[in-house]
Amino acid sequence: MSTISNRKIVIPVLILLAVFFPLMTQNNTYIIHVMTLSFIWMIGVYGLNLLAGYTGYLSLAHAGFFAIGAYSLGILTVKAQMNFWLAFLLALVITSVIGLIVGIIALRTKEHFFAIYTLCLGYILYLVIDKWESLTEGVRGLIGIPAPANIGPIKFDNELSNYYLVLVFLLLVVLVMYRIIHSLSGRTYIAIRNSEDLAQTIGISTMKNKLTVFVLSTFFAGLSGALYASFVRFIGPDIGAIQITFDLLTYLLVGGIGTLTGPIVGTLLIVWLSQFLQDLQDQRMLIFGPILTLLVIFYPRGIVGGVSSLFQMIRSKGSQKSTTVSKGRTAKEMVIEKNTISDKQVKEG
């Protein structure tokens, strides 16, 4: 049970690290800016993770919903001159409602067909944003989106305050995800990923559960988009492009699909790596492509999955040493254990 006590120490340490991160960088605006952006991406990746990682439905329309969240906020504040936080709330509602309508149709398909359907859908969302000039200003984009309005005495007029605002939202998202994954709902979603027929025969209404996950996932995408719009203060139709979906998917795959910490690890790694490789903008895919392929082949559950199976192996070897005399496990048992452990990470990673 050392994992639990470890977790009790690790999580507060990570949070403290995130809180004091700006101080450590001596308020370097560039670093804080990149960090804030990666936190925003993480929120979107968590949405994708819940749907693709836990429920087994790979949605390629995720950037579309990200863009809907961003544009809803942009249009409501810039064109309708609405109060920021009201617009923020409405942006989330709009994204979720569109998610609900789309979900009802999209979830009639499964597996590859679901991926293909959502791929088309994502492209349609992008085209609508790109071509509907009277509403979205088309390729010119929306300029002058206001920064988050003051909450009482707290102002969001600089990088640092925005960093903490986004961090608070990210922590909330992680908390919500943690609660979902460790509840009956989480096991229900895993059951659906496992086998929909089987889930149905034990009485799970798969459509209702899948729709809930789909809407939640679009809600996270919308939240991520709205935060992006208020942070960057300028949005163009590019944020809805399929490229963004694949970026998010890469973060998820590298970090570990279907793991709780995967989105954080993957996003941080790729975002910072991209920053270091900025001079090689055109060639960076030459590096990422092979790395991603190798990772998927050798560590299908990403870095988090790989590391935790390594820990499990070390631990089971350790416990085997101490119990060989008393228990004397057979080699076969060990093999079985290893197989099941890699499955177990799905929940625990």
Binding site: T188, I190, N194, Q200, T201, I202, G203, I204, E337, T340
Partner: protein, 235 residues
């Protein structure tokens, strides 16, 4: 209690089950015999709502259920234990069992009682309750599958080939437990290839061949039938 009237099921243009009539009365053990691909599993899929009949109707306690979704049918009281011991391999034994009580998820007290009941039937599962279901032996996995079906407190339990791939001794134990579950008040519909073991505990049976029922009768009648003996018992 459970009745299939003139049911036909099609996969595309292929008729998997043709014009079958089955009647299961409360308290009975009814066995469906037949080789692979004879239509037993399709019949089960139809009762549990995964496949819809092209013709005919399925009645449960007088109510027509063939338009209902699979999860609604579980709520009505038809529990299924699917073929091939399909479990959730990543979840622990206890989590698997608790998933079986999904339709009763708000009744925590009842779930605890059902869980104790399953552990009484299969004491080994209590020892292994924190192990991943995927790490168990075939027989133990079958126990989890039956236990999980019991957790939904079904009035009728559908058991699809519980003996498949198990050692003879384990098969015997499994059928003893099935008999015990039946005595405690659960009606049982069983699909089997192991006619010898199944007919010993069943009240009556239906013989499937190429998607149709070719023979029906009490266990004694079927046991005495030459064709059945030749095809399924090998004596």
């Amino acid at each position: 209690m459970l009745k299939l009237n003139n049911v036909s099921v099609k996969y595309g243009s292929f008729t998997a089950v043709h014009d079958i009539n089955i009647e299961v009365n409360a308290g009975e053990i009814v066995v469906l015999l037949g080789a692979n691909g004879a239509g037993k599993s399709t019949t089960f899929r139809t009762i549990s709502g995964l496949s819809k009949p092209a013709v005919g109707e399925v009645l449960f306690e007088g109510e027509k259920i063939n338009r209902k979704s699979a999860d609604q049918i579980v709520q009505l009281g038809i529990g299924q234990c699917p073929e091939g011991r399909k479990l959730f391999p990543a979840m622990s034994v206890e989590e698997n069992l608790n998933m079986g009580a999904y339709v009763h998820r708000r009744k925590k007290g009842q779930i605890k009682q059902s869980l104790e009941h399953v552990y009484e039937l299969f004491p080994i599962l209590k020892d292994k309750r924190h192990d991943a279901a995927g790490s168990l032996s075939g027989g133990q996995q079958q126990m989890v599958a039956i236990g999980r079906a019991l957790m939904s407190k079904p009035k009728v339990m559908l058991l699809d080939e519980p003996s498949i791939g198990l050692a003879p001794l384990i098969v015997e134990q499994m059928f003893e437990v099935i008999q015990k579950i039946n005595k405690e008040g659960t009606t049982i519909l069983l699909a089997e290839q192991n006619a010898n073991a199944a007919l010993k505990i069943a009240d009556k049976g239906y013989v499937f061949e190429n998607g149709s029922i070719v023979l029906k009768g009490t266990s004694a009648e079927l046991f005495a039938n030459d064709e059945v003996r030749k095809a399924y018992i090998g004596a």
